[in-house]
């Protein structure tokens, strides 16, 4: 009995010190002087703009990576082809490589001396230090989540139900929409939630390629950093709280949507 309590105590203490204390500190600091200053910083046009940029990047990255993730999972689970192992490994690359390195790689690729930079520059397309770079960086770092959620579910599903649908007259397209997709829907939803969370929280790669120009290419996360650098800590706290609240909201949403039906 005491040993079990000890185990529980250690686990809880660890979580408290590592996770909850910093989070609690941010919340405490933010609301230390009431709601008024919080609202003031959040309604600052520059902050609103930063949130807009973050949301735009997420709005592009999430649908793209959802479609790509589902297609990748289907290819990896259902098809045999050369380089399948490589594809499987590449999907995890964004998890393995530090976002700063991702940012640097994008920077090199799209700079005036990179592979894509000169051609794009000649056609008047500005990628670096502009919205396209932010979107690209966000897409890159949030690639793995949908595929990683969907692959095990597809494996478990097998393809017997789809074969049954085929013998019942369903075309490939009908089989996908009426059998496969409904069967993996929870995995896709989890994947989308995790992808969204990752997009909103992205800092490292975006920090390198965005240029962090106030009111232009600043995202919510880079603005937190900039405000801290300029000793405007109350603004930084407020934005952090919003980001943390979104993350907590995502976790709660995942818990609530967890399917209860026996499959």
């Amino acid at each position: 009995m005491p040993r079990r309590l000890a185990l529980r105590g250690v686990a809880l203490l660890y979580l408290l010190v590592i996770l909850l204390a910093p989070l609690g500190m941010v919340f405490y600091r933010t609301f230390q002087h009431g709601l008024e200053p919080v609202w003031q910083t959040l309604s600052d046009p520059l902050t609103v703009h930063a949130f807009e940029i973050t949301l735009i990047a997420a709005a592009v990255a999430v649908p793209l990576n959802t479609v790509f993730g589902v297609l990748c999972a289907l290819a990896i689970v259902r098809r045999r082809f050369r380089g399948k192992g490589l594809l499987n490994a590449f999907i995890d690359l964004p998890l393995a490589v530090s976002p700063v390195v991702v940012g640097l790689a994008l920077y090199l690729l799209y700079s005036r001396t990179g592979w894509f930079g000169p051609w794009l520059g000649a056609h008047g397309i500005q990628v670096l230090f502009a919205l396209p770079a932010i979107v690209l960086a966000t897409i890159f770092v949030s690639v793995p989540f949908v595929a990683r959620e969907v692959i095990p579910t597809l494996r478990e599903l097998g393809n017997e139900q789809e074969q049954a649908a085929a013998t019942l007259g369903a075309t490939r397209w009908q089989r996908f929409w009426r059998i496969t997709l409904p069967s993996i829907r929870w995995a896709v939803i989890y994947g989308v939630i995790l992808t969204t969370a990752r997009c909103l929280g992205e800092y490292g790669a975006v920090a390198v390629v965005s240029g962090r120009i106030e009111g232009k290419t600043e995202t919510a996360t880079t603005r937190v950093d900039d405000l801290v650098q300029n000793f405007q800590t109350s603004g930084a706290y407020a934005i952090s709280v919003v980001l943390a609240a979104i993350a907590i909201g995502v976790l709660v949403l995942m818990m609530l949507t967890k399917p209860k039906e026996a499959v």
């Binding site: 017997e160 074969q163 049954a164 085929a166 013998t167 019942l168 007259g169 369903a170």
Partner: protein, 324 residues
């Protein structure tokens, strides 16, 4: 719809699942494909359904080449061993799937599903999910689903294999009656010779990818074309140099021409029949099946020495080898 399988071969890597199989299945027949596991019987059924493409050979449905036709265009109903129920749909939506794919009016789908659920005795279960059904109920749902679009061929892959013995016996009986009610060419795969003999009009025996024999159940039993069929369809025992059925063994208290001297090891009463376990001088074991009154007439006891012969319809083991 008649089915013709012509010289079909199929390999999976180095494993030969089907080796030059040719088989005619007449319209509206009820045929069993019987064989041990790994004999290629499921592959043959899947080739007919279009779920596997043969490496060579042809499949003709109603006399027309269907070898390259996609499964959804073959007009077949297929029932899987593990039901392949659409887990995210109710029983009603499962059964109505083929009709909803064909964009039939809602009212028509409703009526047809009700009719089918009645047929498979699942009328009260329309709004349940498959996870809330027993194995036997799921399999009946899968059957109703396969029949919904009125296929011209019904294919069943070990349909009762995952069910317990009592439910299996019920469903066998039920499949037989269903086939009489719904006239459709039916082919089912099984490894259970009793199931094949009991349900089917015709049985095709497969062994290691090769078709051994096709015929009525009685033909296979009485005139097996090979030693494999003899051993696989019904019991067979070796008596001297011959393979015979246990019920063909005759026991006498005196020697006669070709009779083998055996010792009675055990007598087991199985209701109206008796199984007598015997061992010959070389230690080879065999068993005879007698009627109980025959045993009583002979007054046989354990440990006694008797002479075993077989009735006229026996096959020579040498001939059996030649056929195999």
């Amino acid at each position: 719809m008649s089915i013709e399988v012509r010289n079909v071969s199929k390999r999976f890597g180095t494993f030969t699942a089907l080796d030059d199989v040719s088989l005619d299945i007449p319209e509206n027949s009820l045929t069993a494909i019987l064989g041990p596991s790994g004999s290629g019987k499921s592959t043959l059924l899947r080739v007919v359904a279009g779920l596997e493409r043969p490496d060579s050979g042809e499949i003709l449905l109603s006399g027309e080449d269907a070898t390259r036709l996609a499964p959804q265009r073959r007009d077949v109903g297929f029932v899987f061993q593990h039901y392949a129920a659409f887990k995210h749909m109710t029983v009603r939506d499962n059964v109505g799937f083929a009709l909803s794919i064909r964009k039939r009016p809602k009212q028509e789908i409703r009526e047809r599903v009700d009719e089918l659920l009645e047929l498979v005795q699942l009328s009260g279960f329309a709004d349940r999910y498959p996870s809330k059904l027993s194995g036997g109920q799921r399999q009946r749902m899968a059957l109703a689903r396969a029949l919904a679009a009125k296929p011209r061929v019904l294919l069943l892959d070990e349909p009762f294999g995952a069910l317990d013995a009592r439910v299996r016996a019920e469903l066998r009986d039920w499949l037989r009656r269903l086939h009489e009610e719904v006239q459709v060419t039916t082919v089912f795969v099984t490894h259970d010779q009793e199931e094949a003999m009991e349900v089917a009009d015709r049985v095709a025996v497969l062994d290691r990818g090769r078709l051994e024999q096709v015929g009525a159940p009685a033909e296979l039993y009485d005139a097996p074309a090979s030693e494999f069929v003899l051993r696989f369809v019904g019991d067979a025992v070796r008596l001297g140099s011959r393979l015979v059925r246990p019920h063909e063994v005759v026991l006498r208290r005196w020697p006669s021409d070709g009779a083998v001297e055996v010792e009675i090891e055990r007598i087991a009463v199985l209701g109206a029949d008796v199984r007598v376990d015997l061992a010959d001088g070389a230690g080879e074991r065999l068993s005879a099946r007698l009627r109980r009154d025959e045993l009583e007439e002979l007054e046989l006891e354990r440990g006694e020495i008797v002479w075993a012969t077989a009735e006229a319809s026996v096959r020579d083991a040498e001939a059996g080898h030649a056929l195999g």
